[in-house]
C-alpha cells in the first residue's frame, strides 16, 4: 500500500495539494502527519509526503513527527514541504527563497527528467547535508539519499510522470531512467 501523508494545516488545502497526488497514485491510504501511526508505516510499500500552501509552515513546528524517516527503509518521496521535512530531519538548514510559477530546471536525469519546466510554489528551501545527492545546480530542486527522494517543485503539475515512475517501479532508483 502507498501511504500519502498530508502536511496541510487547513483541510481545504488538501484538495489542492493532496488530492492531485491521490489522483495519480489511485490506490493509497491518506493520513495527516499528526495522525500517522507506526502500523501505517509498517504496512506501507512506499510513502509520499505532500506539499502545502505558500503561507502554511505549521509542519515546521512538528518535525519530531517525522523522525521515523531516519530508520525507514522503504522508498519515500517528499514534495515541496515534504522535501523540506526530509532535509531538516537529516540536519539540513532552512533557507528562504520565494519562487512561484513555471521555471526551467535541469534535473540531470532525476527520474528521467532533464531540461524541464516545473511548477514552483515555495517560500523556503533546504540546504541539504552532504550525504544527499543534489541533481541540479542552484538551490536543491531534486535530491536523493538511499531510499529517500525529494523535489522542491510540484510534479503533480506538468511532471506527473515523476510520481508515476516513483509509484509503479518496485524499486525506484532516481537515475535508472536514463536521459
Amino acid at each position: 500500500m502507498i501511504i500519502v501523508i498530508s502536511v496541510c494545516k487547513e483541510k481545504l488545502h488538501e484538495l489542492e495539494f493532496v488530492k492531485p497526488i491521490i489522483d495519480i497514485v489511485k490506490s493509497c491510504k491518506v493520513v495527516h502527519y499528526s495522525k500517522l501511526k507506526n502500523k501505517d508505516l509498517f504496512d506501507a510499500e512506499k510513502v509520499i509526503i505532500c506539499g502545502t500552501s505558500l503561507k502554511d509552515n505549521e509542519f515546521l513546528k512538528y518535525l519530531d513527527k517525522f523522525s521515523w524517516l531516519k530508520i525507514f527503509d522503504k522508498p519515500v518521496l517528499g514534495i515541496c514541504a515534504g522535501m523540506q521535512i526530509i532535509g531538516l530531519v537529516f540536519g539540513g538548514k532552512l533557507k528562504q527563497k520565494k519562487e512561484i510559477g513555471y521555471f526551467k530546471e535541469n534535473l540531470n536525469g532525476f527520474f528521467g527528467l532533464n531540461e524541464v519546466e516545473v511548477y514552483h510554489l515555495h517560500g523556503n528551501y533546504v540546504e541539504f547535508t552532504k550525504e544527499f545527492r543534489v541533481y541540479n545546480k542552484g538551490i536543491p530542486q531534486a535530491v536523493s539519499y538511499g531510499n529517500i527522494y525529494g523535489v522542491l517543485f510540484h510534479p503533480e503539475v506538468r511532471q506527473k510522470k515523476l510520481i508515476k515512475r516513483f509509484i509503479y517501479h518496485k524499486y525506484p532508483t532516481a537515475l535508472r531512467w536514463g536521459s
Partner: protein
C-alpha cells in the same frame, strides 16, 4: 477562516465557493468586470449577473471594473482584494483555477503581497470528475458562450447534465477540447446550487453571435 471568493458566476468559481464553505466562512464575493472579451485572467460573459447570484447567496459583492489589459488588470484585481481585506477582514482568497498556472501564479503573488492565504480547491481536478461533481451536488449550470470547434449556437442555454457530459467526452476525443472548458472553449453560468437560497430563473434569452444574453429573476 474568513474567505473571499474570486467569483465569475460560472461553474468553477461557484463550485470552489461551495467546497470552501464546508469548513470555512464565506464573507464576500469579488467580481472583476473586464472590457476585454479575451482577458487572460477574467471570465466575461454574464459577469454582470453575478450581482443576482450574490443576492441569492446572501453575500456582499465587491465589483471592480478593468480594461482587461494583460498584466495591468492585475492592479485592478489587487485593488479589489485589498477592498475585501479592509472591508470584510478576509484571511484568504478562493479561486476556481483548475489548470491555469498563468492565473494561479498571479493570484498567488498578489495574495502573498497582501499576506493572504490562497485556496484553489479544484486544482488539477479531472475535468469529467468536475462535471459529474456538479451534477452530484445539484448544480444547475447553463452554457452562455461557445468558442471552439465542435460547439455551435445550439449549445447556448443548455444545462450541463449527464447527456452533455457524454457529448463533451466525445468532443474531447474528437477535437481534444477540454471538457470542462478550461481552455475557454465555452463559458457557463450557475442558476442554482446548494449555496443559493433561491433558484435563478431565465425569463428571457437572446443569442448574440456565439453568446447568449439571459434575463433572470
Amino acid at each position: 477562516m474568513k474567505l473571499g471568493v474570486l467569483f465569475s458566476g460560472g461553474k468553477d468559481s461557484t463550485y470552489a465557493a461551495y467546497l470552501a464553505s464546508q469548513n470555512n466562512e464565506l464573507v464576500c464575493l469579488i467580481t472583476l468586470h473586464s472590457k476585454n472579451l479575451y482577458s487572460y485572467m477574467f471570465h466575461t460573459p454574464s459577469i454582470s449577473k453575478t450581482k443576482l447570484q450574490a443576492e441569492v447567496m446572501n453575500l456582499p459583492l465587491i465589483e471592480v471594473n478593468t480594461k482587461g489589459e494583460k498584466e495591468k488588470e492585475l492592479d485592478d484585481l489587487k485593488r479589489a482584494i485589498i477592498e475585501a481585506k479592509n472591508k470584510y477582514k478576509i484571511e484568504g482568497i478562493v479561486t476556481g483555477a483548475v489548470e491555469s498556472v498563468y492565473q494561479a501564479t498571479r493570484i498567488q503573488n498578489i495574495c502573498d503581497e497582501l499576506d493572504l492565504e490562497v485556496f484553489n480547491p479544484l486544482w488539477q481536478k479531472d475535468q469529467i470528475e468536475l462535471l459529474n461533481d456538479l451534477i452530484k451536488h445539484k448544480f444547475e449550470v447553463i452554457i452562455v458562450a461557445v468558442a471552439a470547434e465542435g460547439f455551435d449556437t445550439s449549445w447556448l442555454g443548455r444545462k450541463i447534465d449527464v447527456n452533455m457530459i457524454e457529448e463533451l467526452f466525445k468532443l474531447n476525443k474528437k477535437y481534444g477540447i477540454n471538457p470542462a472548458f478550461e481552455g475557454g472553449e465555452a463559458e457557463s453560468f450557475v442558476l442554482n446550487c446548494p449555496l443559493f437560497k433561491k433558484r435563478l430563473k431565465v425569463v428571457n434569452k437572446r443569442i448574440i453571435d456565439d453568446r447568449i444574453e439571459v434575463e433572470l429573476e
